[in-house]
Symmetry: D2
Subunit: 381 residues, 4 copies
């Protein structure tokens, strides 16, 4: 297949992760792009990426139109630009009938999110939102354990995502990412929940399938003068009676990317941490803890399928990204072949993106009401 890229000019970071992941799958080649708004940078990037000059575009809208018009146009587009542009860019490609893979967060408002969900659905397009942590094999195994009933009914979820990179006022010290993450104009109504709280929400939903019913959120800005929160304590009541605590933080000194979840059910429990992604702790009631490892004994076909290196050889986050791209590309290929959107493989979708946007808004709403409990059902999609 062939894909195009929005973003990824000199100096960018995340676009390179998309590219490395797609390279690893060997499922698609980069053939078109709008890498930078500056013509020279656009050409420089194209050269280094091996993209022909007649497939470089000055704007995303031109790119969407012209690629859609070509017989050999791109099969999908990767949107790897700042958050504020996701909605309009993604929508432009959907309009042209081009499948989309977009960074998270999906967009700024719930209405925008629902619009993207509906547009993709109406047009029969696959829209991936790159919650890539769900590509780790043991996360997929965790999900299988819950779905197959081995945990019984889930009772309690404890999940978190501590970081420390915003523990000080680094936005005043030239940290560009800190500048836009803490700027409401660019980041939207939330910093900590929007950036990493959504990963917690997505991960828990992916693994457990639980639906949130009520939220009480305490968003705190610990670094003075910062307009958005840098820490969140979120209490959850799920439909059906389970309860949960989420803790995303950007001021937790000593913590790097500590996304982690623990799920306790009536029959078993499991624990996973992103920084050691090849380990899943699983305890059946009345039995000792077992340590499941990627590629090791005791796993099912889902975990095995997404394993790129033998047990004991860390395949890392690049492989997790590659896994969601492989599922996405397989789904696209299948759609092209069978002419149906039914039964795509498992990848994080625009619906997951919309769920995340709604979650951010509900947390902010609760916080503004002195952390009161608010109804927080996910959007009906």
């Amino acid at each position: 297949m062939k894909y195009g890229l929005i973003g990824g000019g000199p100096g960018s970071f995340i676009a390179g992760v998309h590219r490395a992941a797609i390279d690893m799958t060997r499922a698609a080649d980069l053939v078109a792009g709008c890498f930078s708004r500056k013509a020279e940078k656009n050409r420089t990037a194209a050269s280094s990426l091996g993209v022909a000059f007649d497939r470089i575009y000055a704007s995303y809208s031109e790119m969407a139109e012209r690629e859609a018009a070509r017989e050999d146009g791109i099969d999908f587009v990767v949107v790897a630009t700042p958050n504020s542009t996701h909605y309009t860019m993604s929508r432009a490609f959907l309009e042209q009938g081009i499948d989309v893979s977009c960074d998270k967060p999906l967009c700024f408002t719930v209405d925008e999110a629902l619009d993207l969900v509906r547009t993709a659905r109406d047009k029969g397009l696959f829209f991936m939102v790159t919650y890539a942590y769900t590509g780790y094999p043991l996360v997929r195994h965790a999900r299988e354990l819950v779905r197959s009933g081995q945990l019984g009914d889930v009772r309690v979820v404890i999940a978190e995502y501590p970081q420390d990179w915003l523990a000080d006022r680094v936005e005043d010290q030239g940290n560009v990412q800190a500048q836009w993450r803490t700027d409401p104009a660019q980041a939207g109504i939330s910093c900590c929940v929007g950036d990493i709280g959504t990963h917690v929400e997505n991960m828990v939903h992916f693994v457990t399938g639980l639906e949130i019913e009520k939220i009480s959120a305490t968003l705190t800005t610990f670094v003075k003068g910062r307009p958005l929160e840098d820490n969140a304590l979120i209490a959850i009541k799920y439909k059906g009676g389970a309860v949960g605590h989420y803790w995303p933080s950007q001021v937790a000194i000593g913590r790097e990317n500590g996304l982690a979840f623990r799920v306790y059910g009536t029959e078993a429990s499991l624990e996973w941490e992103q920084e050691t992604p090849d380990v899943l702790k699983f305890t059946k009631k009345g039995h000792p803890l077992t340590i499941l490892t990627r590629g090791g004994p005791g796993l099912g076909p889902e975990a095995t399928r997404w394993t790129r290196l033998p047990a004991g050889h860390p395949d890392g986050l690049f492989a997790a990204w590659a896994n969601i791209y492989e599922a996405y590309c397989n789904s696209l290929k299948n759609k092209i072949r069978k002419k149906t959107c039914d039964e795509p493989e498992v990848f994080p979708t625009v619906a997951d993106g919309a769920r995340g946007v709604k979650f951010v808004h509900d947390c902010v709403k609760s916080n503004r009401a002195d952390s009161a409990w608010v109804d927080a059902a996910a959007p009906v999609l």
Copy 2:
């Protein structure tokens, strides 16, 4: 010194821990007791414990009176009986001018608790409530790190106490402790918060000195038919702006006695877990994590003082109990010598016990109001 014991008849458990701890300190000898309400069991216990028959008592009240009247009466009494008896027994000894060491929870109501606090204070008596986890040397070092300002201002506290022994309806299967812990008549208004949530509350207060301002608690009874909660999710707003999440649970499959806290300040963070008590993780801002170990380098005099075995030789929970008893007995000796209650050593006091009782009530109050936020300042003592 000499002490007496209420409880500890054949088949009891916790009284033996008190005794082993006091033995380890070599600070006091057991000379009197009311070990059981049954005369024969009382004598059997006395025999095996080396207590003279003329110092066995049929009731706690008789014991309090007669020991107080003796020239060579006990210096303090250990109350190691079921919760519902703590208040009246402790009060009887205080009335007679005898210092008291009592199991937690201190009592059932805040009024009772405040009464005990005032009585002890008015009479110049030392009243220890055996929150023994505060005796671990690295917990004491953690406290010193906070007090000496090395953490800066505390921003976030994440603390928990997961267990799994009540994950099923074991109270119907002959588990005696489960029977009374889940019975409101014997355990009071709370099971999970009362038993282990109070340890979380006490530990966080001991280490950080933070005062709770507001609480939102979600108490859940996951095991059907159980009249008291077996899981609690508690959100805290402290005075001064810090926030916290506490999670005590008795249904967390695979967890044993997972009391743990993590404290994040403006300058550093620390983490500690009760199941590996000789390790304290400490990270200064901008530096890598350091692993402090009991007896190892980098500790201060407080940690060193309470270390009973060389580094790398686990001294365990018995030693933690011995530590609080050593601090208590030293304080008593000092009081006797100097005739003043000023400057006792650090041990968990009746005020800590009262704080715990208030915490339980505030959690229950919030939960009954659909987890609404309630004012939850500790009692003025």
Copy 3:
């Protein structure tokens, strides 16, 4: 029962561990002693330990004779004095028909060791050598796993005991223990192997039952001017074809009391570390790793029996010592009752002590021959 103590005067350390352990068992009372060669210190110690003055002795020989002559004499003696005195003291009590518990190493020469073995056997006495690490419940479970065949045939053993307290020339800086440990006159022919290599040897033998056939040892003195070795690399060929590596070290910076073993069999493997004694890692072939914990599920009666605190509450090294003393005291009681030495409970014996002495000598012999392989069968007992 009643016991006497040699050593344990003011300032001593290890005698206090013996006492705390025996106290924890409640199996015996200290009634006699020769605590110090200085009369005043002897009396001071007796006072603080509650020993009557007529049971204090100026010499071990006097004590042995007079206690043996008393109707109510001690049931056993604890020898907690420097190494060079173990042989003569232990022998004196054996001669008088008194059972003995002695610190390790047992003595200096293999002949002495064999003499003690034979004397104890001939007189029907129980002689414990306090390899107390074998008292940890999960070490006992490890032994049961091997004995019950769950490991199949053992193939490889990797064991070690790294410490760092001799990484510098602390014997010149007033460290008394370093002075005698590194002094051949007081420590014998070996420092590192004698002190901690013997623990490795004993632990591996206790758990696996393997018999050493050949040894190649490289003993190194890394700290200049020290007359005895401070590090040892020992390769082992066991009878039956298994092989092993032992590494005791006193110069391993950052390590405290890192006694650890890993045993790999044809059917399963296990790993244990002294610094986290309540955890045993067990992996059956083709299955994921399971983490067994003291007091937790999946253990047998032997581990359960020696557990003094519930799962998740560390009972520490004091409890391990208490366990070997409980097994020893039970054996003594049984001997007194049944008048037979048959079927004592499991405690480390004088035969284990002799095995250790032989091991030290074989390591030194190999090292003196440029680390050549030497025949190193354990002494026939």
Copy 4:
């Protein structure tokens, strides 16, 4: 740059790792190949890899000649074929003046190895042997710590590489890799040492720079009927007085790819494990353990340079491979530009490969002499 590939036909594994790593560096494109000896498979592979049909070759010798003759010929070749072919293939490309990257082990005999070293040197060619574990950023930091003197003089090295995939006779159950690894005709004189012992040797040499002086090796075949060893215990005396224990094993049940080293010096120690490659434990004398993490504080420029993802996001083994390829490709580019072989970047070279071959032979030699100590100086290169 442009590269060619020998091996990597349908069903192969390791060639894909080479390709993914080179892709990640974006330093070179695959333009030529001899992917399989079967013409059809050769074409199938070329198609899927995007290699033009006129750059497919029926034999490595034809490829070497014709690529050398082209103006736009490959800059280097990747040899990813079974061990027995490494020597002749690599040599053919060197002869034609083409730089080589070859899998380990380099070849079968020390003479072959030395011939390759000299040929590469004489022709001014860069020859990488893909000991890719040396590409992990924290391994490079460990090396810097030793080289900068922070460890002082190294005293003791404990290193190992336990696996369990050959714990049973899987070569009889259709495991193709097991078949050739245990077959002397294809694997040479050693299975366990040749395959993974060499990684231990290379890693220790890379990090510490220590030169081996003497070896005593015990190679054991635990699985009956297997002609080569599946476990090795190797004792080392290094030049200068340091000592070491190496333990590679293929029968260590429960272990996956447990390459690990611990290095103890006069001033500090460090520990690293391949399965958690982003963590390096570092302890300075008299200080607590610090946990260094990839991307985290406290690292130097070398570790920072080779970091592809932010701290806390595992970049895994693919990134380690990419790192050695990036160093290799940078060196090639620099050579082309400056016309000198001086000062290449750090990658594992043919000299390291030769050192590994010599190590295998010395281990086998010692083992055949009943594990006697043999002189084992690395080859003079």
